[in-house]
């Protein structure tokens, strides 16, 4: 436990990201962080699960920035918060007999609770995901969605904006009221996390 307390738990980058020294980020070159994102201990981000087949549009007319586009496995916006022990995996499936992963896009102000596994295609902005949640492959979660603790979102599910989702399999159990919209802002949470 004499692990140099002076160093602090988090590495703070210039763009305001606070990344725990105890997290596992694999394939860092394929991950984009928008800034001011907190990644806590024991978080796993699988940036190595890259797309192996070129996207159908680029195969028809290859462009110079094609390589750059396909090199992103996980894209994360600003003010996201990944709690202890959650995992981000780009989803994968086989189309026409060939297996490939597809990028995982996460917008701004997304909170992911401890121990949750995210294999979604898109997480919109202002999404709150509770503890122990599984977001299935290629799920699409729109803006202002709250996922209750322990929910299992089946693969390919689409969750519209302003929904409260829970259960196994997850279904829409409620609506976000107008006044709750402001509560999704994670700026204060980002400020509260730090080495001191």
């Amino acid at each position: 436990m004499s692990k140099k307390p002076a160093k602090g738990e988090y590495i703070e980058t210039d763009t305001g990201n606070k990344v725990s020294r105890k997290c596992q980020i694999i394939g860092t070159t394929n991950i984009i962080l928008g800034g001011k994102t907190v990644i806590q201990a024991e978080v796993i981000i699988r940036g190595d699960l890259l797309r192996s087949v070129p996207s159908s549009s680029s195969s028809i007319n290859p462009s110079p920035n094609d390589k750059q586009q396909s090199a992103v496995a996980v894209a994360i916006g600003r003010y996201c918060f990944f709690s202890r022990g959650c995992a981000l995996r780009p989803p994968g499936r086989s189309t026409k007999g060939v297996f490939s992963h597809y990028p995982l896009k996460i917008s701004d102000h997304v909170f992911v609770g401890p121990g949750s596994v995210i294999e979604a295609a898109i997480l919109g902005s202002h999404v709150h995901i509770g503890a122990g949640v599984v977001v299935g492959k290629f799920a699409i979660i729109k803006d202002y969605v709250k996922v209750l603790d322990g929910a299992i979102i089946p693969a390919n599910m689409v969750i519209p904006s302003f929904s409260i989702v829970g259960g196994r399999p997850a279904r829409i159990v409620g609506e976000i009221a107008e006044g709750e919209v402001d509560g999704f802002d994670l700026r204060d949470l980002w400020r509260s996390i730090g080495n001191n």
């Binding site: 693969a155 519209p160 009221a177």
Partner: protein, 561 residues
């Protein structure tokens, strides 16, 4: 023991005029109900209270009535219908004609309600290494959650799109389904070919039976009604003069209604064969069901939750059908009293912004409570005074004066004693974002101040505990009640003497009713409509505002000794 998070619920004034409240197990309204309304303290345990208490986030605020509005005192108006799965906007005209379900390809699993995906059977059979070009052939609906497949009910589709249309043409087991309309057309053709037609005891499916019944009774009503514009002209013609005179006849009991009815009686008759929608039940059907249950067993029967989702009553797993997603709506909200819009979302499905959003948290102070000293357990020890910090945060751009009042002891069987050490104070205005940025500097100062006062561990009566730019916190002293109902008679309160039953659910939660009165001064012109505002600006009229409401603060659970 689950952890307890303190909460604050606000009472919406829309329920205030209902005066009589009863406690559990009491037959007559309590005698306190005849005291004047102002003297009454709000009882959070009254059975009615559960319907009027809301978290601050769920409340709206009407700027014209200057009043809190909850979901019970607003009117909802549907702005947009859309499918929650494909997020496709459905025009309200097609909602009227096609019903409130998605008519595209969005289906839910009949077993677990997860959404179904289309996959080719050919590919599934040959596995991952299948030939790439073999992306054709019959398709099935697959559930990715419970692995249910439409193959189980014998449905395979020819195309991967337009599933709604395809499914409506096929019965479970793969037989083609003939809709009621087509059936009638076919019947007519049959009649022209052979005069006999279908037998009178032909079995019908639910849709065509309903169709037949509806057409039969509509024709009966049309025949029996007096000719001219006096009857039900199809549908529900309750507004027609004929119907009106009939209803009036019912009330007045006059004979002129009866006379008509007598003449009608001869004309009206009931259904008598399947073309009119009559379906005879026989013991054979029951026998069939019983033998089927014996064959398929418990696993083969559908649960009540699964049955509820089906359009027709269904008993067995083999009869379940995939059902399409229910449409969802975006709604705007109006004040019931003055009809002003309180909330209006953008009509586009994908847009999450609001055009109008008058939420209560922008108008009334938020109240939070936390313990002054961090206790080792989350439970409150009975009869031991504890201090809590009550923080009131002002969202308005004007400074407000706040009065807080609590009853000396909480209502209910176990009366805890509550004292607010500083019931009157003033809170500064919530100014711009500019100050928000400076907050980090202020935070440090605040902490040291708190530490300094914590050193004393002494809250003075009549003094504010802490103060921020737009918030003030005061100390509340609470002596939790003992949850014992036994003991000597003279120790008991009147309430327990009356009722010394065992502890009820959540009766150990300490809830304090708090009456909050907020006063502030505002520019009168500020509230006027845009055109007038410019003219009135010179006057600089100050208007006094007042808002008073009850709220309930849940402090914690009391330990049972």
């Amino acid at each position: 023991m689950t952890s307890f998070t303190p909460y604050t619920y606000f009472q919406c004034p829309c329920t205030e005029n209902s005066t009589s409240s009863r406690t559990f197990g009491e037959d007559l309204p309590s005698p306190t109900s005849d005291t004047s309304e102002d003297d009454r303290t709000f009882d959070p345990r009254a059975p009615r209270a559960a319907y009027s208490l809301h978290p601050l986030e769920h409340l709206l605020y009407c700027e014209d009535c200057h009043q809190i509005r909850c979901h019970r005192c607003v009117l909802d108006e549907i702005v947009t219908w859309y499918c929650p799965n494909c997020l496709f906007e459905v025009p309200s005209s097609s909602v009227k004609s096609e019903g409130n379900r998605c008519t595209r390809s969005c289906f839910q699993c009949p077993v677990c309600t997860a959404s179904l995906s289309v996959s080719s059977v050919a590919l599934a059979q040959t596995g991952l290494g299948a030939d790439i070009s073999a992306q054709a052939g019959p398709y099935v609906l697959n559930c990715t959650y419970c692995q249910w497949s439409s193959k189980e009910i014998g449905i395979q589709l020819e195309k991967p799109n337009g599933i709604y249309a395809q499914l409506s043409k096929v019965k479970n087991g793969g037989e083609p389904y003939i809709s009621a309309k087509d059936r009638r057309r076919e019947d007519r053709r049959d009649i022209s070919e052979s005069p006999k037609g279908p037998g009178p005891n032909e079995t019908l499916d639910a849709d065509s039976q309903f169709e037949n019944l509806k057409s039969f009774y509509q024709s009966q009503l049309a025949d029996s009604a007096p000719s001219g514009g006096m009857g039900f002209m199809g549908g529900y013609g309750y507004g027609s003069p004929g119907a009106l005179s009939r209803i009036m006849g019912l009330y007045t009991g006059s004979s002129f209604g009866d006379k008509k009815r007598e003449s009608k009686n001869g004309n009206m008759r009931e259904v008598c064969d399947s073309s009119e929608g009559l379906q005879l039940t026989s013991t054979k059907d029951d026998q069939c069901a019983i033998t089927r249950i014996q064959r398929v067993g418990w696993e083969g029967t559908a649960s009540t939750a699964q049955q509820k989702e089906q359009a027709q009553s269904v008993r067995f797993m083999d009869d379940l059908r995939p059902f399409s997603h229910l449409l969802r709506t975006k709604r705007s909200k109006r004040c019931r009293a003055c009809r002003h819009i309180l909330s209006k979302p953008e009509s586009k499905v994908q847009n999450t912004r609001f055009r109008i959003r008058l939420v209560a948290r922008n108008y009334i102070p938020a109240i939070t409570i936390q313990p002054l000293q961090q206790a080792p357990t989350s439970l409150l020890t009975p009869m031991k005074p504890v201090q809590f910090v009550l923080t009131v945060k002002n969202p308005l751009f004007e400074s407000v004066r706040v009065n807080i009042a609590t009853p000396a002891s909480t209502p209910g069987r176990f009366a805890s004693k509550v004292t607010v050490l500083c019931p009157q104070f003033e809170i500064g205005a919530s100014t711009d974002m500019f100050d928000e940025a400076l907050r980090e500097g202020g935070k440090e100062k605040r902490r040291t101040k708190a530490e300094a006062s914590e050193g004393q561990l002494q809250a003075e009566a009549g003094k504010i505990w802490e103060r921020g730019r737009n918030w003030v916190s005061v100390v509340v002293e609470i002596v939790p009640a003992s949850l014992r109902t036994d003991g000597p008679e003279f120790m008991k309160s009147q309430q327990i003497q009356k009722d010394d039953g065992p502890l009820r659910e959540d009766e150990d939660v300490l809830e304090i009713p708090v009456f909050v009165r907020v006063e502030w001064e505002t520019d009168a012109a500020h509230e006027e409509s845009g055109g007038l505002a410019a003219g009135n600006k010179e006057k600089e009229l100050k208007e006094k505002r007042e808002l008073a409401y009850w709220c309930v603060i849940g402090v914690g659970r009391i330990a049972q000794d």
